[in-house]
Symmetry: C2
Subunit: 131 residues, 2 copies
DNA sequence: GAATAACCTATTGACACAGTAGGTAAATGG
DNA sequence: CCATTTACCTACTGTGTCAATAGGTTATTC
C-alpha cells in the first residue's frame, strides 16, 4: 500500500513540473495548491532533496525546482525514494533478507513475477505522463 | 506490501491443497511443515474459517480442510481476506473514502490503472497454479 | 536589517504488525 | 466415562511506522 508520502510526493513533483517557469517555487504555494499541510510537505521535500530529485534554495525568491526534464523522472524512482521500496513482499524488498525456505517456497516465484510487474509498470511510467 | 498474514495464509492454503486426502489436517502438522508458529497460524486459520474459505473440525481426527477444489480459489480472494484489501492506495481501498480533489487529481487515473493491474493479476492466479 | 523561505530536531497519538500466553469447548477412541 | 486430541477463544505486549504538528535556526534577497 502506497502511503501519503508516496502519493503526496508524486503530487509535489507534478506541481513542480506544471508550474515550472525556470525559477524556484516556494513550498507555501505548492501546499496551498495541493491542499497539503506545508509542515508535512517539508518532510517529503527533504527526502526529495536528499535523494537528488529536486533542489532547493533559501531566502526570498527561493523554493524548489526540478533538476531534470519531467520525462526523465520515472514514477518508480519517485515512489521508491518516498516509500523505501516498492517491492510487494519483505523477501524481495530486502536484499539481505534470509529465508531458509527460499528453494522450496511455492509462493516465491509468484512474488517475483508480481514484483516485476509492479516494477516495470512504475519505471516505465514517467512524470511527464501525469501532466 | 503484503504482510506475513497474507504470505503465511497463502502457504497454509497450499499446504492444505497439497496434503488433501479427504480428511482433516491438524494445524500442528501444517505448522511443522511450513515452519510457522502454530499459535500465529491460529489467527490466520481463524480468518480463513470466518471467511468461509476452509472449514475446521475439533477433536481427534480433526483439523482443517478446503471447501472447494484448488482451481476454484483465486489468490486474490485469499489475499483480500487476509489483508483486508489489496488496493494499492487508500483512495481506492475504501469505498467511502472522501477526497475533495477526486475530479482534478492528476494521479488518480494512474492509481486506478495500477489497481486494475494488481487485481487482475491476483484474481486470475489460482491456488492450483501454485501447487 | 527586515522579510522570506528553506532547513533542522523533536515530539505525539494512533494504529498495525508479529507474535505470545493461557485458557475453554468439542469430538473421538479406548 | 474419561483421557487425549484438536479446534476455538480472549487477552496482552513490544516494536515500529504513519501522519502529522511544534518550534526553532540558517540562508538569501531587497
Amino acid at each position: 500500500m502506497i502511503s501519503t508520502k508516496g502519493r503526496y510526493g508524486l503530487r509535489l513533483m507534478i506541481d513542480l513540473a506544471k508550474n515550472d517557469n525556470g525559477s524556484y517555487i516556494p513550498l507555501k504555494d505548492i501546499a496551498e495548491r495541493q491542499e497539503i499541510s506545508k509542515k508535512y510537505l517539508e518532510i517529503i521535500v527533504k527526502k526529495m532533496v536528499d535523494g537528488g530529485l529536486i533542489k532547493g534554495s533559501s531566502g526570498k525568491g527561493g523554493g524548489y525546482k526540478l533538476v531534470k526534464k519531467p520525462d526523465k523522472y520515472s514514477v518508480g524512482e519517485i515512489l521508491t525514494l518516498m516509500e523505501g521500496t516498492i517491492s510487494p513482499v519483505a523477501c524481495l524488498a530486502d536484499k539481505d533478507y534470509l529465508c531458509t525456505r527460499k528453494k522450496k517456497c511455492e509462493t516465491l516465484p509468484m512474488w517475483k513475477e508480481f514484483d516485476k510487474l509492479v516494477h516495470d509498470y512504475f519505471y516505465d511510467k514517467k512524470l511527464s505522463d501525469l501532466l
